[in-house]
């Protein structure tokens, strides 16, 4: 179908340093349509930075370059801060990896949801409250009335994540970037929350960039998976084929999972091949 929501070519993110620069993202290209794209890969491989770069929320010290970086035809590289604010507020929602940090610590959870809701919908406080409670219920929070009155530090890890998921659905965005949104949820709750998310995405044709280290989850939930290693994309494959992945790094990831049905004394650890850093394009300054 028509043009993708996100089109990125040769994205690079560098942290210049006095002694040596740190090349965190080293020339990646991908697109995201109205589909669910999972991003998996090594800790520190640049998953979160890539997500933040789309919203131009990377740290000031980061140098970002790309041949192309577009959202729905809008050139993000040349977009003004004002344009970006409107994109962030209305068209792309992001759940950060540190959910509780994105909530205001001094404001009760309920008031924050009401405020966010009223920013996007013309309703009075009473109605916003009713909808906000319904949203907490939708993400399976027990006793939403009580959680409503709590401060962020008073909710459990998994509750914080579900509050963030509820909040990010409020603006009815075109694209959701979710960075480890369910890592603190037990399997049952996670499945319930994901099925709600899935339903909303499908109904509204929303695109999803789903950053996660949970390979099984991503294979199950997403349509397509990007596998990252050291600032590059190693593999871009349909989610249902993840178990047939060819790249040795992806295979190694799959093999390093502990398994309930097959206890082992020691888990396999991927051996990293320096050649993965050099693959395809000539890459200046690749090995810092």
């Amino acid at each position: 179908m028509d043009r993708p929501l996100i089109a990125i070519e040769d994205l690079r993110i560098r942290f210049p340093g006095a002694h040596r620069s740190n090349d965190a993202v080293r020339g990646i290209s991908f697109t995201i349509g109205r589909e669910k794209v999972g991003i998996v890969g090594e800790s520190g491989s640049g998953k979160s930075l890539t997500g933040r770069a789309i919203l131009k929320l990377t740290p000031n010290s980061a140098r970002i370059t790309a041949r192309r970086m577009e959202f729905d035809g809008i050139d993000l590289l040349s977009a003004s801060e004002r344009q970006m604010r409107s994109i962030r507020g209305n068209r792309i929602s992001m759940i950060l990896q540190d959910p509780k940090f994105s909530l205001n610590p001094l404001m009760r959870v309920g008031n924050q949801i009401i405020e966010a809701y009223r920013l996007h919908h013309r309703v009075d406080v009473g109605e916003a409250k009713r909808r906000a409670l319904a949203m907490l219920e939708a993400v399976h929070i027990r006793e939403p009335e009580r959680v409503f009155r709590q401060f962020p530090h008073e909710v459990s890890g998994g509750m914080g994540q579900r509050i963030m998921i509820a909040m990010m659905l409020i603006p009815e965005p075109d694209l959701i970037i979710a960075d480890e949104p369910t890592s603190a949820l037990d399997v049952t709750v996670r499945r319930q929350v994901l099925s709600i998310l899935d339903e909303l995405l499908t109904r509204r044709g929303t695109g999803l960039m789903f950053i996660s280290h949970d390979l099984n989850l991503v294979a199950d939930f997403c349509d397509r998976v990007l596998v990252m290693y050291a600032g590059r994309i190693m593999e871009d494959i349909p989610a249902r084929d993840l178990h047939k992945a060819q790249h040795p790094y992806t295979r190694a990831l799959l093999d390093s999972l502990p398994r309930l049905d097959h206890p082992v004394d020691e888990l396999k650890i991927p051996s990293r091949d320096p050649a993965w850093l050099l693959e395809d394009t000539a890459d200046e300054g690749a090995v810092a």
């Binding site: 540190d98 940090f101 949970d214 099984n216 199950d220 390093s256 999972l257 398994r259 206890p263």
Partner: protein, 266 residues
């Protein structure tokens, strides 16, 4: 007085209540359990059932609990002494909140060494960074210059550096990708084998909990409703209906099964 048993950690009717009067909410309800020295004990249960709250009471972060906590056979005062933290360290669920934003990794690791009077600072810092798979360059980074998984590894390094005998681990690997998770889990196993460490680990990943822990407490609404061995979890041999449903749901969902399992006829 000292108990004759080998229990390193024990709670007797441990309860934690937040709020007062009408809004009082008892989130841990008379929990009694024990962990033998050298044992790895797991806590599982739905989000919000009180797992982190138990760990916070054990480590002395929350002093407002009822009941008793015993360490090495002796009841510990609600306000812990320094010597307690020399023996017991905790890794928190949220790696973002647990590191001081203005301290570089080197300072984060140096402080506990100073507080507890260790020597050979540089050697110890290098060794522990190696152990958690972070290169020496990471020493001079601030937390905001680290990815989520790198922060969690710093938090684990900080707990390990003073060589405690007990580790309280709250979802220690849920922020880690699977390859780093494998390294950390192998490290935890090795440390337990070599140094006889004792673990209390909270996780929602049954494959992780059975990999590390021999005995697991199933929690529901602030109570440990039953204890199971790792094998009992694998075989879904639970006594309580709630546990059976919880385990079956966790295992039954495709998302918790191994992918390779679906293709390899094992």
């Amino acid at each position: 007085m000292k108990d004759s048993t080998d229990n390193l950690i024990e709670t007797r009717a441990l309860s934690v209540t937040f709020g007062e009067g009408a809004s009082a909410n008892r989130v841990v309800n008379e929990v009694s359990f024990h962990i033998v020295r050298g044992e790895a004990y797991g806590l599982i249960g739905e989000s919000g059932c009180g797992k982190s709250t138990i760990l916070q009471a054990l480590v002395g972060l929350n002093t407002a609990y009822d009941g008793a906590i015993l360490y090495d056979g002796q009841e510990v005062p609600h306000r812990r002494e320094k010597s307690f933290f020399r023996k017991v360290q905790m890794v928190f669920q949220d790696p973002y909140a647990s590191l001081h934003p203005r301290k570089i990794v080197h300072q984060v690791l140096l402080e506990p060494l100073r507080i507890h009077g260790f020597d050979q600072h540089e050697e110890r810092i290098s060794a522990v960074l190696d152990a958690v798979g972070l290169g020496r360059d990471f020493r001079y980074r601030y937390p905001h210059e680290l990815s989520g998984g790198q922060r969690q590894r710093v938090a684990i390094a900080r707990a390990l550096i003073i060589e405690p005998e007990t580790l309280l681990l709250d979802e220690p690997t849920s922020a880690l990708d699977v390859s780093v998770q494998a390294e950390i889990l192998n490290l935890l196993k090795k440390l337990r084998r070599e140094r006889k460490l004792t673990y209390l680990m909270v996780t929602h990943d049954l494959a992780v909990v059975t990999h590390i822990c021999g005995r697991v407490g199933m929690m529901n609404q602030g109570e440990i409703i039953e204890e199971l061995s790792a094998d009992e979890i694998r075989d879904l041999r639970a006594v309580k209906d709630y546990t059976r449903v919880f385990l079956a749901a966790s295992i039954g969902s495709r998302a918790s099964r191994s992918i390779s399992q679906e293709v390899l006829p094992l």
